[in-house]
Structures are given as structure tokens and as C-alpha cells.
């Protein structure tokens, strides 16, 4: 069993009208089976309302399945005895950094999580230091979070999660509100956590170019997993993705359009280097 496993995970909520009468039931997540290996980097794509955030909220027991089961590191999320263990093993980062930062000083904010877990003071400071270093924010430890840019704030949020020593981290559109540089900084930090620290990453995003290095990509639609595969496999299916209201990275789209116009290129080109190499190969031939 992987670090995160779901078995026929289903989540329903009841819609009510203004008087509180039941109008119907919405199935936000519909029989999803996931099995994520420790140390993997997985990405979840899907249009607005496809169920990806609802799915993510099951991984650290913010929501509980209506049917089916979710295990985090072998612990059933519905078992109340494990609630705090699960929350410290699976940390979550949300879209808006301003909603996640509470400390007056960066290092205090990062220490908040471990402090609440009852970690001894000396160890809290060690954890704060290593977490801030891991996201490249150590030199800002004495700063006020208010004065940071969006990307820096989001990295502080991530450090706050890492300080709890999680085995996995779930990021729900962490770059949606950031400028290009902020997006780059955050993605670089997340990839380093995965590569260097071996933390399992679940990244939800609408920016396709952020996930070209993922081990696995899951595409959700109507609460189900509609497509799964490596980034190359997924991004080779341009039309299917467009039907699901999604996109491919610009370089992939350019290669696809060229192919449509008769240029002989392989499917699923993901990087500029690949496209340049493929095109100069053609030119030479």
C-alpha cells in the first residue's frame, strides 16, 4: 500500500433550497481509486467543479468519504484516534497565502505547527531553520510576512507545513494568485522538497507547464478520474484535454499545431529543448 491510497472513494453532499428542503444529492467524488507511492510527485488536473479539491481535502481528513475508504500511511482517515497523526503526516497548502499566515514574524509563523504538536522548543527552532532553508526563505526569517511578495508568502506557508515533518504535502492551486516569478519560485521549492527530501507531493493546478516533471498525472471530470498517465502520455492527448476544459503547455500545443499542418514531430513534446531538437533534426534531414 502506498502513502496515500483510496478505495472507491465517494463523496456526496446534499443540496438544499432556501427553506432547507432537500433538492438533490451531488456526487462530488465518484468511486476514485488512487495509490500514491512514497516519494512520488503526482499532479491532479481538472476543470473548475471537477472534484479535485474535494478529493484533496480527503487526504488530510478535512472531509470524510460518504462511501469507500482513504488511507494515509496505512491509517484510515475515518478513525478519529489517528486524526492528528494524519494531519501532521499530510500537510496542505491552499491558494491564497494571506489566509494561511498568522505569525507576525516569518519564523514564528513557521514554528506554529510544531509548537501545536508539542515539539520541544529547541527542536522547534531546528525545524524552523531547516524548513525555511528548504524553501529558500531562511534569510527572511526575521521579516514581517506582510512585507513579502506573494511567492515568498506561499513559500513561508509551505515551510510551515514542512516544519511538521509531513510525509506528504498537498498543494491546492498554490500558484493561482502569483506573478510569473512567484510561480517559478514556488514550483522550484516544491520540486526540491520532492527530489531532496523525498516528500510525496500532490499538486493541483491549472498551469499545465508546472507539472511536466510529475511522475503521474490524474485528470478529473465529474468526480471521476477521466485520464491517468505520465505527463508525456497525458499531454499527447491534446483534443481530449481540450474537451475536458483543459490545456497543454504552449510548447506542446505548438508542436501539435505543427503536426496538424503536416510537420513530422513526435507526440507529447514537453520542453523547449525537445521541440528545438526535433525541429533541427528535421531541418538537417
Amino acid at each position: 500500500m502506498g502513502i496515500i491510497k483510496t478505495d472507491k472513494l465517494t463523496f456526496e453532499y446534499i443540496r438544499r433550497d432556501e427553506e432547507g428542503n432537500v433538492e438533490g444529492i451531488t456526487r462530488a467524488v465518484d468511486e476514485v481509486d488512487l495509490d500514491v507511492k512514497q516519494g512520488d510527485f503526482i499532479a491532479i488536473l481538472g476543470h473548475n467543479g471537477s472534484g479535485k479539491s474535494t478529493l484533496a481535502k480527503h487526504i488530510n481528513a478535512i472531509l470524510y468519504p460518504t462511501e469507500g475508504t482513504v488511507w494515509v500511511d496505512g491509517m484510515d482517515t475515518q478513525d478519529e484516534n489517528h486524526l492528528w497523526d494524519i494531519r501532521s503526516e499530510a500537510g496542505m497548502v491552499f491558494q491564497n497565502p494571506d489566509n494561511q499566515i498568522i505569525g507576525q514574524v516569518v519564523e514564528e509563523d513557521v514554528g506554529f505547527g510544531p509548537e501545536n504538536m508539542g515539539v520541544p522548543t529547541k527542536e522547534i527552532w531546528e525545524r524552523v531553520e531547516e524548513s525555511l532553508k528548504a524553501v529558500g526563505m531562511y534569510e527572511y526569517r526575521k521579516h514581517s510576512p506582510n512585507k513579502l511578495s506573494g511567492g515568498q508568502k506561499q513559500r513561508v506557508s509551505i515551510a510551515g507545513v514542512i516544519a511538521m515533518h509531513p510525509k506528504c504535502i498537498i498543494l491546492d492551486e498554490p500558484t493561482a494568485m502569483l506573478d510569473p516569478n512567484g510561480r517559478k519560485e514556488v514550483i522550484r521549492a516544491v520540486r526540491a522538497l520532492n527530489d531532496v527530501e523525498g516528500i510525496t507531493v500532490v499538486l493541483i493546478t491549472h498551469y499545465m507547464e508546472e507539472i511536466i516533471h510529475a511522475d503521474m498525472v490524474y485528470v478529473m471530470d465529474k468526480g471521476r478520474i477521466a485520464m491517468e498517465g505520465t505527463p508525456r502520455e497525458i499531454f499527447s492527448r491534446v483534443e481530449e484535454l481540450q474537451d475536458l476544459r483543459l490545456d497543454v503547455p504552449q510548447v506542446t500545443l505548438l508542436a501539435y499545431e505543427l503536426k496538424q499542418r503536416g510537420v513530422n514531430l513526435p507526440d507529447g513534446i514537453l520542453t523547449i529543448e525537445e521541440l528545438v531538437a526535433a525541429l533541427s533534426g528535421l531541418k538537417g534531414a
Binding site: 481538472g46 476543470h47 473548475n48 467543479g49 491558494q95 511578495s149 506573494g150 511567492g151 492551486e173 493561482a176 494568485m177 502569483l178 506573478d179 510569473p180 516569478n181 512567484g182 510561480r183 517559478k184 491549472h206 499545465m208 507547464e209 481540450q242 476544459r245 483543459l246 490545456d247 503547455p249 504552449q250 510548447v251 500545443l253 505548438l254 499545431e257 505543427l258 499542418r261 510537420v263 523547449i272 529543448e273 521541440l275 528545438v276 525541429l279 533541427s280 528535421l282 531541418k283
Partner: protein, 280 residues
């Protein structure tokens, strides 16, 4: 008919130790009917600039003229200005509040003191302009999808019949299709009505695809003010100020470096396809 910013400076917390010089000598002419992109990293002064356009903030020094009149003259009708320069803030759907979609869009024109008939005609037209179908008119705005809510919120501003529409990151948090739908609607609206559109965005790809002019802000000053082609040529300088060029520009640069005869300044996929086909 135009909006002119003449040597505009603005400081927050002037006369205190914490004074921040947020706008420094900004000079801009915004003529009728342009589609303008406003880009800059977080904290570069974009939002401060935008809030000057309809008089929400008053320059510390310098002046702003709308159709030749100084908007900070004491006799100037600011209420009228605010209906002419419509601001759509980030996540505008958080400002929806009425019991149904139609009433929500009526709120603005009603407050302009228009007759009910005119108010309703405008609301109807505005909802059509953003592509909201009749079947949604009497639904609660809170039952709509994220993209629909945002379009209703934009309709609320359009119903005031602005001559300049400023949108602050109208696509943040939307899925790729939702993003394209909103921007396509705005481009169509601009074509049909000749309205001036100022799009504040963090997506260089979107800006490259839709606008005819880009204003780049950095540390409170205008760094570049030119066509997308010209602005994105400076991709190295843009990176230094926290921005970037669209991925296509990097591809074209890399191809040109490899000796392929392509125009390295292409900024959209459509341009790039033609350039590469020509070179092969």
C-alpha cells in the same frame, strides 16, 4: 476622448516614517478603443495605478485628465467618472449579493438614478454581452459556477455603460477553458462596442494573445509601454523584474539561435506556426 496621466506621483503614508513611493512620475495616454495589458510583479504599483484611473486614489502630485477635464477639480462630477471608468476587482464574484442574477446586475445602473426600464434594459444587454443565457437570470448568483459568477460580476460593471473597462486579473483561479471564454467575451465586447479595455494580468500568454499594447510597471514606474512584440523582445529585462515572456517567445529565440530562419519576436502560437512552417 481619452484618459491622460500627467506626471502622476503617489505615496502611501506620506509624512510618516513608513512612506512608500508607490507611483513615480507616471505619464500615460489612454486613447479610445485600445486593448491594453498592464503587467508587473506583485507590488510593482499596478493596483495603485488602476485605482487612480477612476479617482479612488488622488495623486500626491501630478494630474489626471478625463476627456480634457481634471478629475480632481473641485467641481468635477466623480460619480459620473466612476460610471465611465468601470473597475472589476480581483475575485469580483465575492461582491455578488442579490437574490438573483438579474437583480445583482441591476444594482449599479439603479444607483446611477436611472428609470427602472432603462436599468433593466442595460442589465439585460450586459448579461448578454458576457454570454449569460436567460435561463440563469432568476437563479441565485451563488448557484452558478465560478466562471459564470465572474461573468455576472463583470456584467454588473458593464451595465453602468463604462467607456473604459479595467479588469484586475479576471481569470485568476479559472480553468483553461473558463479563462479563454472570459477573455474571448471581453475581446468580442471590445470589437462590438469600441470600449477601451485595460487587462491586468500575470499571464504573459494571455496578454500576448489579446492586447495591442502592453504597459509594464516596475517599482512604481512605467518600464515599457509598447506593442507585445516589442515588449517581449526584452524578455531578459522582464525576468529581472519578476516577469517573463510567453513560452512561445523562448521557443522562437532558441530556434533562431540554432540557425533557423524564424522571427524571434513572435509572441503567439499562431504566429509561431506560420514562422516555423516558412522556415522548414
Amino acid at each position: 476622448m481619452s484618459l491622460i496621466l500627467d506626471h502622476v506621483n503617489y505615496s502611501y503614508g506620506d509624512d510618516t516614517a513608513l512612506a512608500v513611493h508607490a507611483l513615480k512620475d507616471v505619464n500615460l495616454v489612454i486613447p479610445d478603443g485600445q486593448f491594453i495589458g498592464l503587467i508587473g510583479h506583485t507590488g510593482s504599483g499596478k493596483s495603485t495605478l488602476v485605482q487612480h484611473l477612476n479617482g479612488l486614489l488622488k495623486p500626491t502630485s501630478g494630474a489626471i485628465y478625463y476627456n480634457g477635464e481634471d478629475i480632481h477639480d473641485k467641481d468635477y462630477d466623480k460619480k459620473n467618472l466612476r460610471s465611465k471608468v468601470g473597475l472589476v476587482f480581483q475575485y469580483p464574484e465575492h461582491q455578488l449579493f442579490e437574490i438573483d442574477v438579474f437583480k445583482d446586475v441591476c444594482f449599479g445602473p439603479k444607483n446611477l438614478g436611472l428609470f427602472q426600464k432603462e436599468t433593466e434594459l442595460r442589465a439585460y444587454a450586459a448579461l448578454k454581452q458576457v454570454g449569460i443565457e436567460d435561463e440563469y437570470f432568476y437563479q441565485s448568483p451563488f448557484d452558478l459556477s465560478g466562471g459564470q459568477k465572474r461573468r455576472v460580476a463583470i456584467a454588473g460593471v458593464l451595465a453602468m455603460k463604462p467607456e473604459i473597462l479595467v479588469l484586475d486579473e479576471p481569470t485568476a483561479g479559472l480553468d483553461p477553458r473558463g479563462r479563454d471564454e472570459i477573455l474571448d467575451q471581453i475581446a468580442k465586447l471590445k470589437e462590438e462596442t469600441g470600449i477601451t479595455v485595460i487587462l491586468v494580468s500575470h499571464s504573459m500568454e494571455d496578454v500576448a494573445r489579446y492586447v495591442e499594447r502592453i504597459i509594464v510597471m516596475n517599482q512604481g514606474s512605467v518600464l515599457y509601454d509598447d506593442t507585445p512584440r516589442e515588449v517581449f523582445q526584452h524578455y531578459r529585462e522582464l525576468e529581472q523584474v519578476g516577469l517573463a515572456a510567453p513560452q512561445v517567445t523562448y521557443i522562437m529565440q532558441a530556434l533562431a539561435k540554432k540557425g533557423m530562419k524564424v522571427d524571434p519576436a513572435a509572441t503567439t502560437i499562431a504566429e509561431a506556426v506560420e514562422e516555423i512552417l516558412k522556415a522548414l
